[in-house]
């Protein structure tokens, strides 16, 4: 067998680098209290002499401008998923080596064309350039061996390719213990015994070693060498359910698409319900001769309800004119998830459902950013005592009576009848975030009848309307 492994030595820092405005020295840290160690360093930091395992204190002493960051698991999963799909194009069995995280391996045994160094390297190098990630490649008869070769080769010792079993039998014993994916305590214990390479580990009596350190290290050795098999579950790449409907004639208006959309939703509903699935995210693509249009609809709960989705799509589509002739409608349920359905009660009160439907419709009509709820924030300063939250999020807290209508921006107030009363609510604070305030708040009846919430800025001496009680 032949396995190709791809290891990402600087995945976390390189993902962070993408969002930096300028090139800086960057290191991933593992903070334990106030002390930390470097887990990964980017190329700039490496060039400055920083190394993994270094303490942050030492690193910062060497390079004060070093930026420290922590992991972004979501970004890592996304990047690895993308690479898994790329490797899937080489061969169907792609596995994740969690113990060498992050590393992926693919069984290339059946693909003789790829078992030539140049081709493999060129392909992977191209992907690395396209994804802007550093990778190390290893090929070996076992997946673990390939991944360790990739790591070891990155340390500058030798080529990461071993295609012949006889060569592998000579190579794997030289792999350093420090690379073995065992528990840190086991590795430390082996190093304390003077065991530096797999060959020295193998030389020890198995029973004696197991009695002392448990079987873990030997099991790793067996899987590494190929003495025992190393079955791993292959990653799956499910296809999102989709349906394409060619239109009998080209359609240039949204109303004309309704029937086709209705049918597409029904087809997908059937498809999803047979698998007890539903989706929160729906992709609609309209194909014309000159161009294509697409849009994704997101709903709060997974659903397959045709009428609900149709109404939402209708509200969405009516926001913009259809300016080309459509000949094919394509609808896809993205990332379907398991959904057993919902049990209706005898005295079903549909108020909550209706409320959410209204919210969804408003979002489709006005856009997501235009529909939100308001929640209180624990801050004495009225300007910062509230925030926009998604519909349905918590209400937050408030500690005093406040106007129902709070202006986004306070209005200067000039009124001859205005004066500062004896009793005011004095609010001071915010110096720590650069938004320090010192204000005296009070209620004031506008000559026009409105009951205003007014404040006098104690530094400027001017009056402003912050909101209205009535």
């Amino acid at each position: 067998m032949h396995w190709l492994a791809v290891q990402f030595p600087r995945l976390s820092v390189e993902l962070r680098e993408r969002v930096q405005a300028e090139a800086v020295a960057l290191a991933l840290v593992d903070m334990q209290g106030s002390a930390g160690t470097l887990l990964q360093v980017n190329a700039i930091a490496l060039q400055a002499g920083l190394r993994t395992g270094m303490t942050t204190a030492r690193a910062l002493a060497m390079l004060p401008e070093l930026q420290l960051c922590t992991r972004d698991p979501a970004a890592e999963v996304q990047a690895l998923s993308h690479w898994a799909r790329l490797l899937y194009s080489l061969a169907p069995q792609v596995v994740l080596l969690e113990e060498i995280s992050p590393a992926l391996a693919v069984d290339i045994s059946g693909n003789t064309r790829l078992q030539q160094d140049d081709t493999l390297l060129q392909v992977v190098a191209a992907w690395a350039a396209a994804t802007r990630l550093s990778v190390r490649v290893g090929v070996a008869p076992t997946p673990l061996g390939a991944a360790l070769l990739a790591q070891w080769q990155g340390a500058g010792s030798r080529s990461g390719f071993c295609l012949e079993p006889t060569d592998w039998a000579l190579l794997w014993p030289q792999i350093p213990i420090t690379l073995l994916p065992c528990a840190a305590a086991t590795r430390t214990a082996l190093l304390a015994l003077g065991v530096r390479h797999c060959a020295q580990l193998q030389a020890l009596d198995r029973a004696d070693l197991i009695r002392r350190l448990g079987p873990e290290s030997l099991h790793v050795l067996d899987r590494l060498s190929g003495r025992t098999s190393d079955p791993r579950p292959a990653l799956s790449f499910p296809v999102d359910p989709e349906v394409s409907i060619p239109l009998y004639s080209e359609i240039r208006h949204w109303e004309g698409l309704r029937f086709a959309l209705h049918r597409a939703l029904q087809d997908l509903q059937l498809l999803l319900r047979t698998q007890a699935q539903a989706s929160r995210s729906w992709l609609l693509q309209l194909q014309g001769r000159e161009r294509q249009w697409s849009s994704t609809l997101e709903v709060r709960d997974p659903t397959t309800n045709v009428e609900t989705l149709l109404t939402l799509w209708q509200w969405r589509l009516q926001q913009q004119p259809l300016d080309f002739a459509v000949h094919t409608l394509h609808l896809q349920a993205l990332a379907p998830q398991r959904w057993p359905g919902r049990q209706a009660t005898w005295w079903q009160d549909g108020a909550e459902e209706a409320r959410w439907q209204l919210v969804e419709q408003l979002r489709q009509r006005l856009g997501d950013v235009a529909v939100h709820a308001v929640a209180g924030v624990a801050d004495h300063r009225p300007d910062y005592a509230w925030q926009r939250v998604p519909p349905g999020a918590g209400q937050g807290e408030a500690n005093a009576a406040r106007p129902l209508w709070l202006l986004a921006q306070a209005l200067p107030l000039h009124a001859p009848s205005l004066f500062l009363p004896a009793q005011v609510e004095r609010i001071e604070g915010g110096w720590w975030d650069g938004r320090d305030q010192s204000r005296d708040y009070f209620r004031w009846r506008h000559p026009g009848g409105a009951l205003c919430w007014v404040y006098r800025d104690r530094r400027q001496g001017r009056f402003y309307v912050q909101g209205y009680f009535a």
């Binding site: 030492r58 002493a61 009793q423 609510e425």
Partner: protein, 1020 residues
């Protein structure tokens, strides 16, 4: 508002910075501000504390402002209340109340219950509103009223511009009427001025351990909790509520001056007067000290001291200290008085100090002065490992109610201020680490923006500007209360009637709430029970030799010869870099030379430029002249150069006609010179007196200038003499019994200037054979047998003394020592076995560390309850331990290695980089350029060195001192702060036997050390 019609007011609820992490202003600032606002009085009411009472009393008295003492209490089963002291009994009751509340909870906390209130007769109470609703619970209020009496209780109305002040006032007044409890105005004051609001916010964030941005409602709505001007108060409160504060203030007439402190009688036999008993003990003591007969001068001095002690009623104090010292000596604990007390013949006679008055010129006025009106202060050093026995004896003998440790107020320093400020402002942990590590211990109290810039922060950014402002405000601000290192206070009457007592962090210790600097208010006497590592060393060494301190031969030439060569590593007081350089120049030949040696390397003589003149005269390079016979008598022993405080005082007495008390006043003026910038009236008095006695104007002026050097601390001669006794003793033992000396030093760690690695290397250099830790031979302590030093199990990092004790007992009983027997027979823990194996202590049984660890791991039980068969094992095919690996493991587990020095393994690369060994460089001529590399063992930046940094580097061939001039320090700052292995380019400077290396290039080679564990000792 017209001044004449402004209502009068007394603030009755106010917290200062000594309500730690709540109040934002010093108590002095609060009193000054209250006076400036023309309040009628101010009550300082710390939370469950009277910690600021003494300093508040002093300051209020100085400025002539009425002070009321009290305390804010949050009852566990009731409301928050402010208790105000009305009269003396009330103060005593409150102090005891706080003591009981504090004693129920751990350090920093308290538990006060409603049931405790009835004992507070003599106090008035203000019930505070609920902090959320700002209203009162009726049941709680009635309960407090019933406990203390309706005429002693008020409802405190706090109008802080919360928006509903009018409604709040209305409701509270109604409640007051309904409950028949009068109301008064109070301000919940936390700061003297509104501008301190930012600091008060920061303290809240620190106290609640959350960033400011996350505090939400926990922060105060505004900055109203300050001492507000009376026009403002008049707008907020109805006049009757303001007037009520005056009625309360008028009833509170207590002053700390009405308290009487009485020192315990000491161990005085019944029926005998203290003074008579003291005299009896002292005269008997002198007889013992001088079996050949007491010198007339000494006897006369004794009687003079006894007369002054009788006049000032200090006999009890001396008897107490004598009692404590006798206890220690009875237990075989080495001890010795230090400081100005060594000027006293009484102390010598009682065995408290060891400075022989027949050999030294003592000045009792330095210790006790009639005019000074300060109680005596005797510091006694005890063996550091046994000091706790002495402290617990004092607690047991005098009782917990009559004895306690004094407190020390811990203030923020730059690093701790930066840490807390950055957390409060929401900096991430990684950023906080970077901010703090950029600060060096020599940087001073204020934060320099340049430091932050070096760490990659923009000092002009608003965020960093705010950080700097907050940090600079925090530096020097009180942080928390801690216990003094050894100052104990004793009282004949219950101590908790004078000041509250609370538990310390250490078990079995209690501490009063007053800082040591506050004791003078009541004239409370303090005995400093201090720990001195060298006494432990001497005790161990003398025990091994079967000797006592008195058995050590005096004035041994070999000992002085050793010191003259600068071979003083481990010797008390003279082992520092500066002392090692001075010894070959000063060349001590007698005991008094050691007294000078101890005192001359101090800021006082250095700043006063006494060191070089003294050395020149001693080396015959400069003539010694005296302007007059009186001066000659005083300065002859120091070749005409004043080195000791007492010499200045003696000159003032003998050559300028000062009395002893006046001379002590001059001494105190010297101490205050740096703060005030002048000696006050003493300059003219001294010059006039000297002129009257025939001394020239030039000499008088020069003497005044030299005196100013003593503004930085100079040793009293008596103190130097006390220390010189220990210098000589430790040097003699090192010279004649180096192995025993080394063992005693190692067994008394941590202490001293040097780490175990350097101590052992020094012993080896002196020809001591040192054997490694060995389970078959080592005891817990390092031992010497037949002149060979065996390292002890105490050096093994992490090994528990209890496990070691069991092991030694097992061994003594003939138990087998292989791993199986230790594990299954003795039941030694897996951790202990691993520690022994890692330290190489099993090597004689199993071979190198690898084999030993293999054997240890094989002896550990399997994770199964099933009985497993014993399977014979073959010898494991483990690689042999290399000597480099052994060195790393040695340093990790023992802090030292008996094998090659770590740099032995790096010598090839060091040489390839152009660096030579220290021994080679030391042989160079003066001024020759060279390059060397070494491990950093010490870093120093003395305050007198104007920014110069001194390093000590070590390699396999020896040690050398490196000097980094101030203009280089900033450029090499990171290497200086962080470097463990440094490569230095520069030139050698030689002054006789004293050698330094002046650096002009520096390279941090620390990455070459890999995982080698080293630490340097850094000193200011």
């Amino acid at each position: 508002m017209c001044r004449a019609i402004l209502p009068e007011y007394a603030e009755l609820h106010c917290l200062s910075a000594l309500s730690f992490l709540r109040g934002a202003s010093a108590v002095e600032d609060l009193l000054d501000r209250a006076q400036a606002l023309e309040y009628r009085a101010l009550a300082i009411t710390e939370e469950c504390s009277l910690g600021s009472a003494a300093r508040a009393h002093s300051h209020a008295r100085n400025i002539g402002f009425p002070l009321i003492l009290g305390s804010e209490i949050a009852l566990t089963d009731g409301p928050r209340i402010v208790l105000l002291v009305r009269e003396r009994d009330g103060y005593v009751a409150l102090s005891r109340f706080i003591t009981r509340a504090r004693g129920r909870a751990g350090k920093g906390h308290y538990q006060a219950h409603m049931a405790d209130l009835p004992e507070l007769m003599g106090c008035l109470a203000i019930i505070l509103p609920d902090s959320q609703s700002l209203r009162f619970d009726a049941a709680d209020a009635i309960a407090v009223r019933d406990c203390l009496g309706a005429e002693n209780v008020w409802l405190g109305v706090e109008l802080l511009r919360g928006g509903d002040d009018a409604a709040q006032l209305r409701e509270v007044l109604e409640q007051g009427r309904a409950l028949d409890i009068p109301c008064l105005a109070c301000g919940d004051v936390h700061m003297d001025r509104r501008s301190r609001r930012f600091l008060q916010d920061v303290l809240t964030a620190i106290r609640l351990r959350r960033p400011l941005a996350d505090l939400g409602w926990a922060l105060a709505r505004n900055g109203e909790r300050h001492l507000r001007p009376r026009p403002v108060l008049a707008e907020l409160y109805p006049p009757e509520l303001l007037a009520e504060t005056l009625r309360v203030a008028e009833r509170c007439q207590f002053s700390l001056d009405s308290l009487v402190y009485r020192y315990p009688d000491g161990a005085c036999p019944a029926g005998q007067q203290r003074d008579d008993y003291l005299a009896e003990l002292a005269r008997q003591g002198l007889q013992r000290r001088y079996p050949q007969g007491v010198d007339t001068v000494v006897a006369t001095q004794l009687e003079a001291e006894l007369a002054l002690v009788r006049e000032l009623d200090y006999a009890g104090y001396f008897l107490t200290v004598h009692d404590i010292v006798q206890f220690a000596k009875g237990r075989g604990i080495l001890c010795q008085g230090r400081g100005s007390a060594a000027n006293s013949v009484i102390c010598y006679a009682l065995g408290i100090t060891e400075v022989d008055p027949s050999r030294m010129q003592l000045l009792f006025a330095r210790f006790i002065s009639r005019d000074r009106r300060e109680p005596p202060d005797i510091d006694v050093d005890f063996e550091h490992e046994r000091r706790e026995e002495v402290i617990q004896y004092v607690f047991q003998h005098y009782g917990r109610d009559h004895a306690a440790l004094t407190a020390t107020i811990i203030h923020y320093r730059p690093r701790s201020a930066m840490r807390d400020a950055a957390r409060a402002l929401g900096f991430a942990p990684v950023e906080i680490q970077r901010l703090t590590q950029g600060l060096a211990w020599w940087d001073g109290r204020q934060i320099c923006p340049e430091r932050l810039q070096e760490q990659g922060f923009d000092p002009t950014s608003p965020t960093i500007q705010r950080l700097i402002t907050v940090v600079n405000a925090l530096v020097g601000f009180p942080r928390h209360l801690s216990q003094h290192v050894g100052g104990m206070v004793l009282s004949a009457t219950p101590l908790n009637a004078l000041v509250p007592i609370e538990p310390a962090a250490m078990a079995e210790r209690t501490v009063i709430q007053w800082d040591k600097d506050d004791l003078d208010v009541l004239g409370i006497l303090k005995v400093d029970i201090l720990a001195l590592g060298m006494l432990s060393v001497l005790h161990r060494a003398l025990d091994s030799l079967g000797m006592t301190l008195a058995d050590i031969p005096a004035e041994d030439p070999a000992t002085y010869a050793m010191l003259q060569c600068g071979e003083s590593l481990g010797v008390f007081q003279v082992e520092s870099r500066a002392q090692m350089s001075m010894l070959p120049r000063l060349k001590p030949r007698c005991f008094y030379d050691l007294v000078i040696e101890v005192a001359i390397i101090r800021p006082g003589p250095i700043q006063g430029d006494m060191v070089h003149p003294y050395l020149r005269r001693r080396q015959g390079l400069e003539p010694v002249r005296y302007p007059g016979p009186e001066v000659k008598k005083v300065l002859e022993r120091t070749l005409g150069v004043p080195i000791f405080q007492e010499q200045v005082m003696q000159i003032a007495i003998d050559a300028a006609g000062f009395s002893g008390d006046e001379a002590d006043g001059l001494r105190r003026a010297m101490a205050a010179w740096r703060r005030k910038g002048h000696l006050g009236p003493y300059t003219d008095r001294l010059i006039r007196g000297l002129r009257l006695h025939g001394y020239s104007e030039a000499f008088a002026q020069r003497l005044c200038q030299q005196i100013q050097g003593f503004a930085e601390y100079g040793f009293p001669e008596s103190h130097a003499a006390s220390f010189a006794l220990l210098v000589y003793a430790s040097a003699w033992i090192k010279c004649h019994h180096p192995a025993i000396f080394t063992a005693a030093l190692l067994n008394s760690q941590p202490m001293g200037f040097y780490a175990p690695a350097q101590i052992v290397q020094e012993a080896q250099r002196r020809g001591v054979e040192v054997l490694s830790v060995d389970i078959c031979h080592s005891d817990w302590d390092c031992q010497v047998q037949d002149g060979v030093l065996r390292l002890g199990l105490c050096l093994i990092k992490g090994l528990s003394p209890k496990e070691a004790e069991r092991l030694l007992h097992w061994r003594a009983q003939g138990g087998a020592l292989h791993s199986e027997a230790l594990r299954h027979g003795l039941g030694l823990s897996a951790a202990a076995l691993h520690q022994l194996a890692h330290a190489g202590a099993l090597s004689s049984l199993h071979g190198d560390r690898h084999q030993a660890l293999w054997a240890v791991q094989g002896s550990l039980p399997l994770p199964t309850a099933l009985p497993m068969p014993v399977v014979p094992e073959q010898a494991p095919a483990l690689p042999a331990e290399t000597s480099a690996a052994a060195c790393i493991a040695d340093y990790q587990q023992l802090g030292l290695s008996l094998g090659p020095h770590p740099l032995h393994f790096l010598r090839k690369w060091i040489a390839q980089s152009g660096y030579r060994s220290i021994a080679e460089v030391r042989m160079q001529h003066h001024g020759r350029p060279d390059r060397l590399a070494g491990l950093v063992t010490h870093r120093q930046r003395p305050g007198t060195a104007h920014g110069t940094v001194f390093l000590t580097l070590e390699d396999e061939s020896g040690m050398i001192n490196v000097i980094v001039w101030p203009q280089r320090v900033e450029g090499w700052r990171r290497a200086l702060l962080q470097g463990r292995l440094l490569g230095i380019g520069g030139r050698l400077e030689r002054q006789g036997a004293s050698v330094h290396f002046i650096a002009d290039a520096m390279e941090d080679l620390s990455p070459w050390l890999g995982t080698l564990s080293t630490r340097s000792r850094d000193f200011h």
